[in-house]
Amino acid sequence: MRNRDLSFWLFLSPVLLALALVVIVPLLYGTFYSFTDWDGLRATRFIGFENYSRLIHDTAFLNSLWFTIKFSVVTVILLNFFGLSLALIVTRKLKSANLLRTVFFMPNLIGGLILGFIWQFIFISVFSDIGEALGIAGLQGWLSTTTTGFWGLVILTVWQMAGYIMIIYIAYLQNIPNELIEAAKIDGANSFQRFKNITFPLVAPAFTVSMFLTLSTSFKMYDQNLSLTNGGPFESTQMVAMEIVKTAFSSNEMAYGQAKAVVFFLIVAIISLTQVYYNKKREVDM
């Protein structure tokens, strides 16, 4: 097919139209309106960077951004740790390996909203019952403070997504030639040395994939945040996505909400691009 062929454009037109109307036009339209006093229906005047200078002093926005960053860093580390650990467990010669793979992956298929509600029950009712029975005060009042809300979200996310990351690591672990491991065994390397010198460097590319995935997913998280803590107590566990939704659809400040959304887009794009670049470079160096 050549550029001037009608069929080339006919084959592309449905998806091009959808991408343009659903993603590209709204992005451009929204970016333009973030410089105005747009209320969702009309914009009366151009106000330059007013929305943007307002958001640098908006403590609710800055707090949610900081909360999201902390959350993402902790989740990315824990998710990769658990994902790799689970992958190492289910690729051993265990009778239950297949069953475990099914079990570990299961939470991924269920929506974050529903899982958040289930964990709300566990943190509130089950934790306080166990805490009472065992006399552990730390299990009382979960989700009612910022710290427990934070860790609640981390636990939920790690539990939900670790099985997904496990699948990625499994794919790379299975590509390691068995002869390499056997040769190292014969040379007298113990299991830790084998992991450090053979397995680990060979699954390194899996970090590119899984860090990209976990970082962008945790940064954009909304459903789990809504159903588990709904941002509370006092909006202290509110993440950026929820802050934007509230600004736009609860306070009806469309232009201001969109300015936050543009900043959010820039942050996500910069993180993603840096990460892809850095990981590609490291892979080549090794």
Binding site: M1, F11, L12, I24, P26, L100, N108, A261, S272
Partner: protein
């Protein structure tokens, strides 16, 4: 050595139990009375309360919300698979610079988070009266096509161009060639594309919450309204959550192998 494997097996099984504990707790407590949840949250129910499920089933308007979820997911997946495979084919068979730029635009669009376009999106679609099921399905095509085209484009490299040429010589037009020769060969990747998109679309909450009204609410949307009514009434809330999860669990048991393989393929590429 033997003993070591047993310990390993035992540890792995224990971890598996911890992993499904939330589901266990949800199900056992869904069968308890409000009072029993309060007195004993960990044990099996003393007296099985099936009435929780009847009440939740009615309040969730489950038949309707399930139907709505199925309509949105099935139609969206069908058009994503159909149109993305066509586009992936066209882009792979055109080696020009323009073709690579178009592919790059689709891949680049994956970097744009949904939240940064949702406000103008809802406003624009509202203006043309498209905040409904059809509008939602069109939006899913827009958001879902990028990854799908990328996957189709990647697997097209394995399909020889001589197949196209043979079909053209036999008198088939471009569309017939695609429909009868290429599309059947793309079946494995269509499976992956379908699975990756259905997991996301079936569970999506934010977009439907901005687009759909209560009458055509999907399961996650209905679940949100339902849960709001039953705070502090865990026996009903948990029964509702259990009902909402059942279709997914059934699907998982039927297509477990394909799901794990599909996710693996989609993530690694």
């Amino acid at each position: 050595m033997k003993r070591k494997t047993y310990i390993g097996e035992l540890f792995a099984l224990l971890l598996g139990l911890v992993w499904i504990a939330p589901f266990y707790l949800m199900i056992v407590n869904a069968f308890k009375s409000k009072k029993e949840i309060f007195t004993d949250v960990l044990g099996l129910p003393q007296e099985v309360q099936t009435s929780n499920f009847v009440e939740a089933f009615i309040d969730l308007d489950f038949v309707r919300s399930l139907t709505n979820s199925i309509i949105v997911s099935v139609v969206s997946i069908a058009i994503i698979v159909f149109f993305s495979s066509m586009a992936g084919y066209a882009l792979a068979r055109n080696k020009s610079k323009l073709s690579s730029i178009i592919l790059l635009i689709f891949v680049g669009a994956m970097l744009i988070p949904f939240q940064s376009v949702m406000i103008p999106l809802v406003s624009l679609f509202g203006k043309v009266d498209m905040l409904n099921q059809a509008g939602l399905i069109f939006m899913y095509l827009g958001f879902g096509s990028s990854l799908s085209i990328f996957l189709y484009h990647g697997s097209m490299t394995g399909i020889s161009k001589s197949l196209d040429e043979a079909a053209i010589i036999d008198g088939a037009n471009k569309f017939q060639t695609f429909r009868h020769i290429i599309f059947p060969l793309l079946k494995p990747i269509s499976m992956t594309v379908g699975i990756l998109n259905v997991i996301w679309i079936w569970n999506d909450y934010l977009l439907p919450s901005l687009v759909l009204n209560e009458n055509n609410a999907t399961i996650p949307l209905k679940m949100f309204y339902f849960f709001g009514q039953y705070t502090k009434q865990w026996h009903l809330a948990l029964a509702g959550l259990t009902i909402a999860i059942i279709p997914v669990i059934i699907g998982y048991f039927i297509a477990q192998k394909q799901i794990l393989a599909g996710v693996s393929e989609g993530a690694v590429k």
